[in-house]
């Protein structure tokens, strides 16, 4: 208990960093992921190709390598971002590939008749996607999207190796200073992550039940 009192400041700041990193990269991943999914189902071949290239590149590259590229590669071409911004970009762009695939699977699950009906009513591609297809698609992809975002919350821990003082980075720091309290340090960090991920899982469950399509 004394350990928690003594190191509350460090743990709280690190927790807030992880939370902020999760929220910002989550927003980036969601927006970029939906745009990419739309591109992949669009009738314009170059857009489809570009989105496919993006998804296959990021989905098949380890996140650590993406981090290396953003943090140490970009400065080589004179693009310097702060370490925190770099972490948001790396996690966000990486996760966007998985979001795009989840959303695309949702779009494909909407029966073609829906899109055809929208077309028959005179809606354009953008309109029918926005008003008819995507709302139904999102309802079916709540569980897979939830998993993607929970995985992302844990993936932010890679940022510890790239100068972001988030939760996992407190592990070596606190262990070095409190060698006898190894288990307590681990417990503190695990609790920190669970404060973020358990409510996420709960919210996903609630949302899933509320929007479920009864077939």
């Amino acid at each position: 208990m004394q350990f928690f009192i003594d190191n509350f400041d460090i743990l709280r700041d690190a927790f807030l960093q992880t939370l902020l990193l999760t929220v910002l990269s989550g927003v980036l991943a969601l927006v970029l992921g939906v745009v990419l999914a739309t591109m992949r189902v669009s009738p314009i071949p170059p857009l489809r190709g570009l989105a496919t290239f993006y998804v296959e590149t990021f989905r098949n590259t380890p996140l650590t390598v993406v981090f290396f590229f953003v943090i140490f590669g970009l400065p080589q071409i004179d693009t310097v971002v702060s370490f925190f911004t770099g972490a948001v970009i790396a996690v966000g762009m990486y996760t966007a590939a998985f979001v795009a695939e989840a959303v695309r699977s949702g779009i494909n699950s909407v029966s073609p008749g829906q899109a055809e009906a929208a077309r028959a009513l005179g809606l354009g591609f953008g309109q029918s996607l926005r008003e008819v297809v995507l709302p139904q698609a999102f309802r079916t992809v709540v569980p897979p999207l939830g998993s993607v975002f929970i995985a992302m919350a844990k993936n932010t821990s890679i940022a510890a190796g790239f100068s972001v003082s988030e939760l996992s980075s407190t592990l070596p720091r606190l262990v070095n200073a409190n060698a006898g309290d190894l288990l307590v340090v681990l417990l503190a960090v695990v609790i920190g992550y669970m404060i973020i991920t358990v409510p996420m899982a709960y919210a996903v469950n609630r949302l899933e039940r509320r929007v479920a399509i009864l077939r």
């Binding site: 370490f83 592990l171 070095n176």
Partner: protein
Amino acid sequence: MRLTKYAAAAAAFGVVLAGCSSEAGNQAAQESDNAPEVAQDVEFEAGTTMAELAEAGTITIGTKYDQPGFGLLNPSGVPEGFDVEIGKIIAAQLGIEEDQIEFVETVSANRESFIQNGQVDLVIATYTINDARKQLVDFAGPYYEAGQDIMVAAGNPEGIEGPDDLAGKNVCSVEGSTPAQNIRDNYPEATLTLFDVYSKCADALTNGQVDAVTTDNVILTGLVAGNPDGFELVGNPFTQEPYGIGLTLGDTEFRDFVNDVLEESFEDGSWAAAWDATAGQITGEPAPEPPSVDRY
């Protein structure tokens, strides 16, 4: 009683090996040249750790696998460095052959628990002696005294001469290391950039993302040696980091024994020979004066 015959035979074997193959053979020859003589017919008081280890004929030593000059795993999977050589000197005095030493990787976070759980008999791993750690383990030594120093880009564009010049600058180190904590506590004006390994600090310094890198001088020397055109050492150590040998808390007999072995190696030149063959290759300087053992 000691017999030099065995050591001579071992050395001759090493030379034969060197004749057989190129790189690995050379290394073997080099190692056997300065391999400590293994004591024969050692006798220790029954019940002591020394007696147990001598009886078993094997010892487990924890060391680092990623610290050039001190403990670094070579491409054939064998750790090399000054810490490893010190381990061999101690094992030799227990009558344990070099190939009977089992090396285990220890990192900063698990050194104490490995000793407490008996997973290792000794930890020789750039292990700074401090009061908090003395509560958990006993230390023999020190066998080397490092100091925190600063590495900057070649030419020292920011004009950093010491830790006080770090105010307002971006300084890189490794999270969880004593040097990083020292900057936090004593030089809060400096902006810390913390990675998990020092090689990333070197990358960041190359890119100009940080102005300086700080940690123990021996580690920085290894980084400078890797890129002599890009980096330079300020060469103004501002802390003292006595490296000790960790062993089970309360095992005073074993600690006294290790201290005796260390003092003997300081005197008979085997300590200096170990330095010259390992860390000395990186610094390019002769072995420093050995520190004096602290029997606290």
